[in-house]
């Protein structure tokens, strides 16, 4: 049984400029210890999906609906506020994108770590402090005792992200939602952080949903990948299959837009033309239609559902078969 | 330039650059203001505030035109009058406690709530018929409609007729002093008793001769009075024989040094004039000073009273005799342009509304003055103070800030440090101190520089509200100094003045306007604050602070004269609120970060 089962998740924001359907019918499930990649351009609804799982969508203007939002044997949507708080930061925790702004600048690192333990494990301050120091040591921070008394601005960006990860893992959560954990960091630190996450995942058996728009990261980290476009799943597949044989024009575009270190820089990147759609005013039919080079008349009729392609993969494209493997995995 | 930089980006020729800068400027200039106006209009609260302020300001400025009672004339009452929705007040007195014998001619008008800016011709008449004829004569002579009140005469059994017309300039007796061919000297000295330092009096000895050498005859003079301001002295010499159209003589001179005492004795060609103290003045006085003096002759104009009297003399009415004319001043006379505008507005009021005026819609204060009128006139004072004082602060702040920002470096640093120091002083205390000290020099300032108390007040307020303005302007100038389009202008060789006028000023202007709208309410509050403490505008003038004093004094446990609190507070609060809202709205509208957005 999957540890997390999401069926037809819908999140909309009712703003002054109209209703924004940030997530529109997303379904997936997550197995224990698995890493699920979530990729897509910014604005495609990745963060909103994660926040919806945590019950952190601000309301108003947000409205969250789903056919099922099952965590182990509990229905997340049916939990009371208090029960939900018991899950947050404890069984499901989240790491945010920007370690610079996601830590409270006015509280010491120690205070921000210990309060998690105080809430969920009812530890005394002293015990909590010990555990927090251990947590910092786990993520490879030297002199953890001293760091506890420092303020976030006294730490480097990489250190702060480590603190965030330590904070997320303090209570040994079953699921870790990592929302672009490395975007704000430079490349070497990025690699360290990712390695660290993998190591901790092996140790604790935590399932991870890794949000990123960096396909390289996804390829290295995840078992399976969900590709999101305009609030819907465009394609879902095992990481290897997806990269070898993308079955959605959008995925292909994404793969094409990854700059390769080797190769001719002057050659045209096969990037996606046009810009992401306005979620408040989506085109009829397939949302990707205006930017799609495989588009046919059928595509304008209605948004294509997710077609099962067998082998645990599916694609939301009417022309998925036409994509085939024209260049035979030339990568 | 192109020699130094082979790079193609730098090889724009200068004409092209000039064209680009001009275009950029035009685009920037136009879109800034039209964009701001568009956004201000969309901000409904700010736009309403703007409309309210325009209306309220207009009403206050047009105060003399409005058919409201006088803000100044008092009448004897026991307590403040309640607001009454009387569409109009009969112009004649309504509230005299007893219209009959209890009042005499000298006290009668003290209960008057009617038109108070008026000239009243008082005549004796035998009966009602004669009274009507007298009114007709007054109307005919003055060319204005008159109201009639009749009372039993103080003595005898006739009637006393009061025919009142709205007062115009020229109604009150005015004396014009004309030069005569007499002139001469005044010798003045202090007189003190032996042993004491302080003088007990002063002697002014005049010698006046005409151009042809005849002495001025002391027998023509019946008495004297004096008016002295600092060192200038005007001695009034009364005529022994009244002559129609001619009033007092005036001897005017300016002392070389101030004397310790006002004159107690006046000598004309060695003769002590009537009304002088007996002093021993023989011998050469020690410390006497002799200065040139001139003699002026007072010529009285044909005022309303004289005209009526003359008309009655020319064609008498049976049973009517002229007694006297009184003038009740219901407004403040302003000098200069404001005064001229006020007089024009007043004439327009009489032409439009005649003798009609509203009732006491907002009640009266303890002295019977109409509250509505006082609020309108008080707002006028406060608004004028607010605007002028803010402009003072603007001038100082902009000059200081712009200079500091423009110079930069050490000078800038020092100048801003000074601002910091001034910021950390609790200013009110220093200002109050300053105002009281300056008050000691009132007469000197007024005599020598023509600066009256209100002007001092403007200056002092202006002098403390410039700090924020200076900081803001300096910041703006500093950031502009290094922007690209200024660089561009400098590159094409525009002069400093040109750069300042066409680039810096428009950009600083928007922020200055915003702070101006926020300074005005602050200054108005400060005026109210000082007036409340008795250090600002002085009675009988009226301003918001003084109205508030009346309000707080009217609060007592026995009876709450709520209108004295509620109406002035309402006017004050809504104006200040509107100014604040408008200021915030303007700030949003002119904020470059929000430009182009809704």
């Amino acid at each position: 049984m999957p540890i997390l089962d999401v069926q037809n998740l819908r999140v909309r924001f009712e703003t002054h400029h109209g209703v924004v359907r940030a997530v529109d019918g997303v379904s997936f499930s997550l197995e224990e210890g698995e890493t699920l990649g979530l990729v897509g351009e910014s604005g495609s609804g990745k963060s909103v999906t994660n926040l919806a799982l945590m019950g952190l969508i601000p309301s108003p203007p947000g409205v969250v609906e789903a056919d099922a939002l099952r965590f182990e044997d509990r229905d997340l949507l049916a939990l009371s506020d208090e029960e939900l708080r018991g899950v947050r930061g404890n069984e499901i925790s989240m790491i945010f994108q920007d370690p610079m702004t996601s830590l409270n600048p006015l509280l010491t690192v120690g205070r921000q770590l210990t309060e998690v333990l105080e809430v969920h494990e009812r530890l005394s301050r002293r015990e909590a402090r010990k555990r927090a120091a251990a947590g910092l040591a786990d993520v490879g921070i030297p002199e953890p005792e001293r760091r506890l008394d420092q303020y976030p601005h006294e730490l480097s960006g990489g250190m702060r992200q480590r603190v965030m990860i330590a904070m997320g893992l303090l209570c040994r959560p079953k699921i870790l939602l990592a929302d672009e954990p490395t975007t704000a960091l430079d490349v070497t630190i990025q690699a360290q952080i990712l390695e660290l996450m993998q190591k901790l995942q092996r140790e604790y058996g935590t399932a991870i949903i890794l949000v990123t728009h960096d396909l390289g990261v996804v390829a290295g980290m995840s078992d399976r990948v969900n590709v999101m476009y305009a609030g819907r799943l465009a394609e879902t597949a095992g990481a290897v299959e997806l990269f070898d044989d993308p079955r959605h024009p959008y995925t292909r575009g994404l793969l094409g837009s990854v700059p390769r270190l080797s190769g001719d820089t002057d050659a045209d990147l096969d990037s996606i033309k046009g810009s992401p759609p306005d979620l408040a005013d989506l085109p009829a039919g397939c949302a990707f239609r205006p930017r799609c080079s495989f588009e046919t008349e059928r595509c304008a009729a209605e948004p294509p559902p997710l077609f099962d392609l067998g082998g645990g993969r599916s694609s939301a494209c009417l022309e998925r078969d036409a994509l085939g493997q024209p260049e035979g995995g030339a990568r | 330039m192109s020699d130094a930089h082979q790079d193609s980006r730098w090889s724009i020729d200068e004409a092209e650059l000039a064209r680009l800068t001009k275009e950029a400027r035009q685009f920037k200039g136009e879109s800034l203001w039209s964009d701001a106006w568009r956004r201000l209009r969309r901000n409904r609260a700010a736009f309403l505030a703007l409309l309210f302020l325009a209306a309220f300001g207009g009403v206050s400025l047009l105060a003399p035109f409005l058919p409201i009672p006088s803000p100044k004339a008092i009448s004897l009452r026991d307590e403040p009058g309640t607001p009454e929705w009387l569409w109009s007040v009969p112009a004649a007195p309504t509230k005299a406690p007893d219209r009959g014998a209890a009042t005499t001619r000298s006290t009668r008008n003290l209960w008057n709530d009617g038109w108070r800016h008026r000239s009243t011709v008082i005549l004796a008449a035998d009966d009602e018929g004669a009274a009507e004829k007298a009114r007709a004569r007054v109307e005919e002579t003055s060319g204005r409609g008159a109201i009639l009140e009749t009372y039993p005469a103080d003595e005898g059994d006739g009637l006393e007729v009061y025919a009142s017309v709205p007062m115009l300039e020229g109604d009150a007796p005015e004396v014009d002093y004309r030069a005569t061919d007499f002139g001469g000297t005044a010798t003045c000295w202090d007189v003190s008793t032996a042993g004491a330092d302080e003088p007990v009096g002063a002697v002014h000895s005049l010698r006046l001769q005409s151009a042809d050498g005849t002495d001025f005859d002391a027998a023509q003079v019946s008495g004297w009075s004096v008016e002295a301001r600092g060192r200038s002295v005007r001695l009034f010499l009364g005529r022994a024989e009244a002559r129609p159209g001619l009033g007092d003589w005036v001897v005017a001179y300016r002392l070389a040094a101030e004397l310790g005492s006002l004159p107690t004795a006046v000598l004309l060609d060695g003769t002590l004039l009537p009304g002088s103290a007996e002093v021993a003045w023989e011998g050469t006085p020690r410390g006497a000073q002799t200065v040139d003096a001139e003699l002026l002759e007072g010529v009285e104009a044909m005022d309303l009273g004289r005209q009526v009297a003359a008309s009655l003399a020319a064609s008498p009415i049976e049973g009517v005799t002229y007694l006297e004319t009184r003038h009740e001043d219901g407004y403040w006379e302003f000098k200069g342009l404001v005064g001229a505008m006020d007089r024009a507005l007043r004439r327009a009021r009489i032409a439009t509304f005649g003798l009609w005026q509203t009732g006491n819609w907002m009640g009266t204060d303890g002295q019977g003055r109409d509250l509505l009128a006082r609020i309108v006139w008080g707002s006028r004072t406060s608004i004028i103070v607010g605007i002028i004082a803010s402009l003072c602060s603007l001038l100082i702040g902009v000059l200081y800030g712009a200079f500091s920002g423009y110079m930069g470096g050490r000078i800038d640093n020092l100048m801003m440090r000074i601002v910091d120091v001034l910021y950390s002083i609790p200013f009110i205390f220093v200002v109050i101190f300053l105002i009281t000290v300056v008050n000691e020099y009132r007469t000197e300032l007024e005599d020598q520089f023509g600066i009256d108390r209100e002007k001092i007040f403007f200056l002092v307020i202006g002098a403390i509200y410039w700090l924020t303005m200076a900081r803001v302007v300096r910041g703006q100038v500093l950031s502009l100094k290094n922007t690209e389009f200024i660089e561009a202008a400098r590159v094409i060789g525009a002069s400093t003045t040109r750069i300042l006028l066409s680039h810096v000023v428009p950009n600083v202007l928007s922020i200055v306007i915003v702070y101006l709208t926020l300074t005005i309410p602050a200054v108005m509050l400060f005026e109210a604050f000082l007036s409340f403490l008795g250090l600002g505008i002085e009675p009988p003038k009226v301003s918001w602070g003084l109205l508030a004093v009346d309000g707080t004094q009217a609060i007592n446990p026995i009876k709450i004269y709520w209108w004295l609190v509620v109406f002035p507070a309402g006017a004050m609060g809504s104006t200040l609120l509107a100014l604040n809202i408008l200021g915030d709205g303007l700030r949003d509208a002119l904020d470059p970060k929000l430009r182009g957005k809704n």
Binding site: T101, S102, E115 | F433, I555, M572
Partner: protein, 343 residues
């Protein structure tokens, strides 16, 4: 820290000596002096009075005496044995033969004799009136903070709601209306219409409540505004989302994570607020007939009691400056990102 304090102290000295010097010379430049303009005094008495207040000295000497810390008067008394000294000894007695009190100058904390209250020094008057004004000020500051912060938080927690709108309108009114107008309304309301509080007077704490409230309301309005914007800003910060994601209760999130950041603007406003309360106390003390320092100051200013007026001005300058420094230091305690050295 030490460097910060040293620099602050330097500017403090500059500020206070500017205020002192300017007001001293302003006061002494007034023609005639403080005892003119009333009925003429006997020249002997006048000379005595002038001597008592050192008005017969040259200006520089009067200034040195005023600033202190050396009592030039005493020196003259000590030199009583030489010829001029005998004269001086006579002079250091008041008109009634009582010896004048020693006056050590502002630097020793002595503001000299009052020009109006003949038997009092400025210090006597301040000693008597300052506790009253301090009580009023502290009370109004408490009102301002309590009302302002709670209103600001209530507004920020439900932006756009009815409560928010009402509170914001009230705050705008509080800022726009002068405090004497607010005072009038409150007196009518709380004393006469709903008689909760005693009529103006002096003595019990009840008598203080209304003046304190009237004085505090304007600042409560400002604080409410600052709190609202500050809280809205912090509540939308990323770290608040983090706090929620940790599973903290909403109360804890607001109290522990949002409040501190949201109140920072309020803390930096406390300096200006103090100055404002001192200013406002002038009016409030007049309305409620409170014999505080403010009332004395106004009387002194209008009655040419220059030593008293100067004393109050200098004292309040020192007070405001000190409080500003304390506030700045408190700010660095609350916000670890700011260090005092930065200044």
């Amino acid at each position: 820290m030490l460097r910060f304090l040293a620099r602050r102290f330097l500017w403090f000295v500059i500020t206070v000596s500017t205020v002192m010097t300017v007001s001293f010379f302003l006061m002494h430049s007034v023609k005639g002096g403080p005892f003119d303009g009333e009925r003429k005094l006997d020249p002997v008495i006048e000379a005595n009075i002038k001597a008592r207040y050192h008005l017969d000295w040259p200006l520089w000497r009067q200034y040195l005496q005023y600033v202190g810390p050396f009592n030039l008067d005493d020196q003259r008394a000590l030199a009583a044995f030489d010829e001029e000294g005998g004269f001086a000894l006579w002079r250091s007695e008041g008109a009634d033969g009582e010896p004048t009190r020693a006056f050590g100058g502002v630097l020793t904390g002595d503001f000299g004799p009052s020009f109006r209250y003949k038997d009092f020094t400025v210090n006597d008057i301040l000693e008597e009136s300052l506790p009253i004004s301090a009580l009023l000020g502290v009370l109004s500051m408490m009102f301002a903070i309590a009302l302002g912060v709670s209103a600001g938080i209530a507004s920020a927690l439900r932006p756009g709601s009815g409560i928010d709108l009402t509170l914001r309108i009230a705050a705008t009114g509080g800022i726009a209306l002068p405090n004497f107008v607010i005072a009038s309304f409150l007196v009518i309301l709380l004393v006469f219409l709903i008689p909760l509080l005693p009529v103006a007077g002096w003595g019990t704490i009840q008598h203080m409540l209304l003046p304190g409230l009237c004085l505090g309301l304007v600042f409560a309005a400002y604080i409410a505004r600052l709190t609202r914007t500050g809280m809205l800003e912090t509540l939308s910060a990323d770290y608040i989302r983090t706090a929620h994601a940790k599973g903290l209760a909403p109360r804890t999130v607001v109290m522990r994570h949002a409040l501190k950041g949201g109140l920072l603007p309020v803390v930096s406003y406390l300096g200006p607020a103090t100055a404002g309360i001192l200013t406002g106390s002038l009016v409030i003390e007049k309305i409620f007939f409170i014999p505080g320092t403010g009332s004395h100051f106004i009387n002194a200013a209008t009655n040419r009691d220059y030593t008293l007026a100067m004393g109050v001005t200098i004292l309040f300058t020192v007070l405001v400056y000190t409080l500003n420094t304390v506030v700045d230091m408190a700010y660095t305690l609350l916000d670890p990102r700011i260090t005092l050295e930065d200044e």
